[in-house]
């Protein structure tokens, strides 16, 4: 029997600590049913925000549902980019390229303006979007592979500029290959999922035409993205708590050491790129469906920067953090728009909104100074079946505050902890 010592005083610091870790600590302390009890209503609450229209929160000048829909898409983007940047530590400044490829795949296959339009041949407009989403994901993943295989040999900042170039090249191709993409004229009439058509909304709830607030198309797209986010979180969470996720972190921390430890670093970097790309492509497909119109200008470098801001602002490496980051990036610029008063104080929101990029820039600088690790930094969990281990540690930690000897606390620990070991983490999805 190993002896346990409480020699390490509670109070050792860690690089990622603060709200994120504290919250995670608390969350892990909850029993599984409790976690469900808290988690599900919370997600439902978020999902219904555009319906509830809480006064100060709801945007005025733009439709809140629409804003949330965009948030959903950017959240997906942020989760995908987080795999690449946050986990594997590969600085990708051209992520918007994947977003664009996803959007253009759907648009090229379903827009009547496109030479490759399938909808007038054998694919019904109703199913076209759904049919194209997997294609979009596959094509972006492949483009991730194509971009990655030659360039992932490059290190750090070389990779950054090459990816930035890639993002630009994608946009410029969309712009220049006018016979296929219509260049700057864009592709119109992109398909969207057909669902719940009524007399009033003959094209279904996802149609841009559905504008009966609050149940308008924005809300539906938001819901669709929530579902996709949850799925993607499960997938990414599973990856993180596996050999793959550990390899990513190891690569991020010390690529040479990782390789010498036998980790096939190139392969896993490539996977990170492909997975990130695929998620970006999925989000792009959502975008194309929602807006039903794609033009190259929506995919310029600045958007890559915004995506990266979402990731770093939220706390790179932390999936929930980056979602929060995405929310801030999307929501803040819309907040002032059209407001005539705030908390009873009369303002000219449109005027303020005119300065949004100024404020945005200042906010970025200030936030980074005060929270250099991001708003919501937290350590990833990298082991799938170690719930018991961490629970034992946590109990000891909590016990350490009360009793000085952790051993005393541990004494009553083993019973339920060990019962929790094998496979207990199986359903530990989504990291929530």
């Amino acid at each position: 029997m190993t002896t346990t010592t409480a020699s390490v005083p509670a109070g050792k610091n860690r690089p990622y600590s603060g709200t994120g870790d504290r919250l995670r600590l608390w969350w892990d302390a909850q029993a599984r049913p409790t976690q469900w009890l808290i988690g599900v209503p919370f997600i439902v609450f978020i999902a219904f925000l555009p319906v509830l229209r809480i006064p100060v929160l709801t945007t005025v000048g733009t439709d809140f549902g629409g804003v949330m829909a965009q948030f959903g898409m950017i959240a997906l983007v942020a989760i995908g980019l987080n795999v690449v940047v946050g986990s594997a530590g590969l600085l990708d400044l051209g992520y918007v390229g994947f977003y664009a490829i996803g959007a253009y795949t759907v648009a090229l296959l379903t827009s009547p303006d496109s030479p490759w339009n399938l909808t007038d041949q054998w694919l019904s407009q109703r199913w076209a979007w759904l049919f194209c989403v997997p294609i979009a994901i596959a094509i972006t993943a492949i483009s991730g592979l194509i971009l990655g295989s030659p360039t992932l040999r490059l290190r750090g900042d070389y990779l950054a500029i090459v990816t930035l170039g890639f993002g630009e090249i994608v946009r410029l191709l969309a712009d220049n290959l006018t016979t296929i993409t219509q260049g700057g004229r864009g592709l119109q009439g992109v398909a969207f999922p057909y669902f719940g058509g009524t007399d009033k909304n003959p094209d279904g709830v996802f149609s841009a035409g559905n504008s009966d607030a609050p149940w308008n198309s924005g809300l539906w797209w938001f819901w669709l993205s929530i579902v996709l986010i949850v799925i993607v979180l499960l997938v990414v969470g599973n990856l993180e708590r596996s050999r793959v996720g550990r390899a990513w972190i190891a690569i991020r921390e010390d690529e040479d050491a990782a390789e010498i430890m036998g980790v096939p670093t190139f392969k896993f970097k490539l996977w990170a790129f492909m997975i990130g790309a695929a998620i970006g492509g999925l989000s792009g497909a959502l975008y194309a469906g929602q807006v039903q119109f794609v033009v190259p200008t929506n995919f310029n470098v600045i958007n890559s920067m915004f995506f990266l801001c979402a990731v770093v602002l939220g706390g790179q490496g932390n999936k929930l953090g980056v979602i929060l980051g995405a929310f801030i990036i999307v929501y803040l610029p819309n907040f002032f728009q059209g407001r005539t008063s705030l908390f009873g104080i009369p303002i000219d929101g449109n005027d303020i909104a005119g300065y949004k990029y100024l404020f945005f820039g200042i906010a970025l600088i200030v936030l980074m100074i005060f929270r250099p690790q991001g708003l919501f930094p937290a350590r990833q969990k990298l082991l799938a079946y170690s719930r018991g281990l961490y629970q034992a540690a946590r109990r000891a930690a909590l016990g350490g505050d009360r009793a000085t000897s952790a051993a005393a606390v541990l004494a009553d620990g083993p019973a339920d902890a060990s019962s929790d070991v094998p496979g207990a983490g199986t359903k530990d999805g989504g990291d929530r």
């Binding site: 439709d63 700057g184 004229r185 504008s211």
Partner: protein, 390 residues
């Protein structure tokens, strides 16, 4: 100390607003109004133009009009031109009609299609909004047309000129000016028939509007379009050396540029300073006092077109007083379209469907031109104005 190096001693101080081009005192002067075949048409008589003030006895309550376009971001100037024109009309109306106070609500789309899809539902769900002036750009109009269509809300644009917009069956959509087909065809014909060019280099930037316009111009020019020196540049470019080289080494009679003044000004400057003296012809995106200010003497004699007519001087005066600057492109169209909406309200229109009907049946003179639409929402007859920098 240094004395002024400005040997001609002129003003040129303020960097905004003024319509003169610095010390060389160049400005954009209307030259001729032409039809789609490049033939001159006499300027219409604007004296009977509809007046937003009406007879001063209108009654209405709780109605508003919306304006959507880029109010912030890089293209804000264009949106503001439109907003200010609309605001002038509404102010005049409200001043004259104490019992019918119409609110003008502005919605910022930044010119971004996705942003516009978020803004559109807000406009639609505001039940007091009876008519929409906008969206301003073709791209965002494409993205949101379905929303307004489904809501049955009048969407009258003072600026979106992409020809495709009226082919979607949007019965609520009206265009207050000629589309790029007519502008492009008109100037192309004018170049070959009136100005007598045999070879023209068509250069365009990469934006929706420019690409479309360049297409039409090239097509209409037919064999007069010189393929060897056709070139495409990018929004935001400032350095056109390669394009200049291309033009320089071609044996052309003129350069046509489809795009906006931001790029047109440095382009023409660089053409001139590398010794290319070919005539320079451009479009409504370039047709802005800024162009002359930026390009200076290089802009001299350039032909600029616009489906929009020149602002009559009394309009310009009113506008200057209200907006604090000279009217820009589409200010007049915005004023006219909002005037029509106000007339509808004054005549008792209280719901969206009636507003659309009012537009469909409208036939009247405006400050800029005569307004009467065909069933697709295009003006029944369109003309293009040719201006020249002098």
């Amino acid at each position: 100390g240094c004395s002024s190096k400005d040997d001609s001693g002129g003003g040129g101080g303020g960097a905004t607003g003024g319509s003169t081009g610095g010390s060389s005192a160049l400005s954009i002067q209307p030259l001729v109004q032409i039809d789609n075949t490049g033939k001159e048409v006499a300027a219409s008589d604007a004296s009977g133009a509809a007046d937003p003030a009406g007879d001063g006895s209108a009654k209405c309550s709780d109605v508003s009009l919306a304006m959507a376009g880029a109010l912030t971001g890089g293209n804000a100037a264009l949106g503001l031109n439109i907003y200010n024109g609309a605001k002038l009309a509404v102010d005049e109306h409200n001043k004259a009609n104490a019992d019918c106070q119409v609110t003008l609500k502005k919605f910022d789309t930044e010119g971004d299609p996705q942003k516009a899809t978020q803004v559109a539902p807000t406009i639609v769900s505001d039940k007091t909004v009876l008519g929409l002036l906008g969206p301003a750009f073709s791209g965002e109009t494409k993205a949101t047309g379905g929303i307004f269509k489904q809501a049955g809300l009048l969407s009258a644009t003072a600026s979106a000129t992409n020809p495709g917009l009226t082919t979607n069956g949007w019965s609520n959509f009206f265009r207050g000016l000629g589309n790029d087909n007519s502008q492009g065809a008109a100037i192309a014909k004018y170049m070959t028939d009136t100005l007598g060019y045999k070879k023209v280099c068509v250069v365009a930037d990469n934006q929706d509007y420019s690409v479309g316009l360049a297409d039409v111009v090239t097509k209409t020019l037919g064999s007069a379009a010189d393929k060897d020196c056709a070139a495409s540049v990018k929004q935001g470019d400032t350095d056109f050396s390669a394009t200049v080289q291309i033009v320089k080494s071609a044996q052309a009679d003129a350069v046509y540029y489809a795009g906006y003044y931001q790029e047109a000004a440095p382009f023409v400057s660089q053409l001139r300073s590398s010794g290319v003296t070919l005539p320079f012809i451009s479009d409504d995106g370039t047709n802005d006092p800024e162009f002359v200010k930026q390009a200076g003497d290089a802009s001299k004699d350039a032909y600029l077109t616009c489906p929009c007519g020149p602002a009559p001087s009394d309009f310009a005066t009113k506008y200057q007083a209200s907006a604090g600057k000279a009217p820009g492109v589409y200010s007049v169209e915005a004023y006219d379209l909002v005037t029509i909406m106000l007339k509808a309200i004054d005549s008792g229109v209280t719901d969206r469907a009636d507003m659309v009907k009012f537009f469909a049946g409208y036939d009247g003179q405006g400050v800029a031109k005569h307004y009467k639409w065909d069933s697709s929402g295009e003006l029944a007859s369109t003309t293009t104005w040719v201006y020249q920098v002098k």
